[in-house]
Structures are given as structure tokens and as C-alpha cells.
Point group: C2
Chain length 149, copies 2
């Protein structure tokens, strides 16, 4: 559960930019998110983090997650009124939730589609964030014969 040096640098830099200190707990929470990139809830982050550091508290996990979101290192994902989930993928992307399993996947968004979406707004409207949520089912694809070469 060690943060790679470059990742640690990225964390420290983002925290410093926001005038925040780098702490063991923030590092642990960030490392936990990066290790399982499966959109965990705060509770899930808490129980995973506690395996490494049994003294960490739920309040701290909430605090750290909020800090990381504030630094722009993590995105909060909200489906309806389900518990908030957290996502360390910084590429522009939408989310898709499977109705059956509840699992969430990332859907990459190209720069051009982002531009298109911004053009939808009436003059004067300036969006600083944009969230696109899909809800649906995943149909197993007929696996094409995977001919090797």
C-alpha cells in the first residue's frame, strides 16, 4: 500500500496547490482509491483503509475524500440518492451504472464531444462542471471468434 513516488508527488503537489498538508491519512485514502478503481463508497474506503491503518476513523475518511475532491484528484459520483462513490480517474468520462449489479463503469468522453455538450447551453450560461450519467443493462456480446493473427 505504498504510493509510487510519482503518484505521491502528484498528491503532495495538488494538496500544496490547495494550501493543504500532506498527511498519512490522506495518502492512505488516495492509495486505497487508486488500488481498487471500482468506485467505492466512503464506507468501503473506510473498511479497506482500516486494514492498513486500523486507527483511521470514518470521519477522517470523509474529510480526506472531500479534500481530495477539492484538490481535483478525485471525482464524486452520485447516482440518485445512493451513497456517494469516489473515482480517481481524471480523464474526462461519463458513468454507466448497471441496473442489475449496481456496478459503475467509466465511459471516456472525447474532447470533441465535450465541446459539443458545452454548445448546448444558452448564451451567458457558463458551466464549470458537467456530469453525464447513464443507467442501463449490459448485454453479453456474442464473442467474436478471437482469431489469433
Amino acid at each position: 500500500m505504498e504510493l509510487e513516488a510519482t503518484t505521491k508527488a502528484r498528491l503532495d503537489e495538488a494538496l500544496a496547490r490547495a494550501g493543504q498538508r500532506s498527511t498519512r491519512q490522506r495518502e492512505l485514502v488516495f492509495a486505497t482509491l487508486l488500488r481498487w478503481m471500482d468506485h467505492p463508497t466512503a464506507d468501503e474506503v473506510f473498511s479497506r483503509a482500516r486494514e492498513q491503518t486500523p486507527t483511521i476513523s470514518l470521519a477522517t475518511v470523509y474529510n480526506c475524500l472531500e479534500t481530495l475532491v477539492g484538490c481535483g484528484l478525485v471525482r464524486a459520483v452520485n447516482y440518485e440518492r445512493e451513497p456517494t462513490r469516489y473515482c480517481p480517474n481524471l480523464n474526462e468520462h461519463a458513468h454507466f451504472q448497471d441496473r442489475v449489479t449496481g456496478r459503475i463503469s467509466d465511459i471516456p468522453l472525447s474532447e470533441s464531444i465535450m465541446a459539443t455538450l458545452r454548445t448546448l447551453l444558452p448564451p451567458g450560461y457558463e458551466a464549470d462542471s458537467l456530469d453525464l450519467y447513464f443507467h442501463g443493462t449490459i448485454r453479453k456480446q456474442p464473442s467474436k471468434s478471437t482469431s489469433k493473427s
Copy 2:
């Protein structure tokens, strides 16, 4: 606070299609939403509805709103973890929330942009709902000289 005959018919039909009865309270809640189309919370609907029917309960307002959403007559709008808001606009649209006032406006979405959005999904992914949320600020437009004719 009377529902227009055609609107009442629309409500009854949608309820019947979903195997639900038409009741005073459902009619009242629907009428309340249509009268102020400002994305009220359940609490706001409750206090507005109570002006007409002081005996209606908050639980009933929640029940009715859920029923209306289930019938497809109303959409639930969720910004982060704010209380759910309700929207009787059935045209395809996104939402824009003003960071300053918290007010929400509807952004119409053309059929073509809807189609474009659906193409973003990987094969096998079938979306049955799609929600697009903007967050930002509204800059007052330099009012162009409104030349008549």
C-alpha cells in the same frame, strides 16, 4: 388549482397504464408541480400542496411523487446530495444549476444530440436513462438593442 381536463386525462391514463388509482392527492401533487415549474423539493411541494389541502401528509407527498415518477409523468432531479427535486417537463432535457442561487433550469436536448450521446456507449451497453447535469454560473448578457421588425 384545478387540473385542465386534458391534463387530468393524461394523469389518469398514465396512472391506469401503471395499474394505479387516480386519487385526490396524486392529482393535487401533479397540479402543484405543473403550476410552479421551478424544480421544487418534496418539502416545497408539501407546503404548497398543504395550502390547498391542509390534511395532506409529507409521506403522501413522497408517495405521490414516487408514483408520478414511476408513471413517467415527472422526473427526479438530483444534484449531488441535495434533496431530490421534481420536474414535470417531459421533453428531453438536461439541467443546469446556478452555483450562486442554486436555481435549476432546463436545457433542451435535440433528438440528434441524444442519438450522439447514446453512441458513446461500448457495444452491449444499453442505456435506459441518461442524465446530463451542468453546474455553473449565468453571466448577464449585454442586452442587444431589441429592434422590433
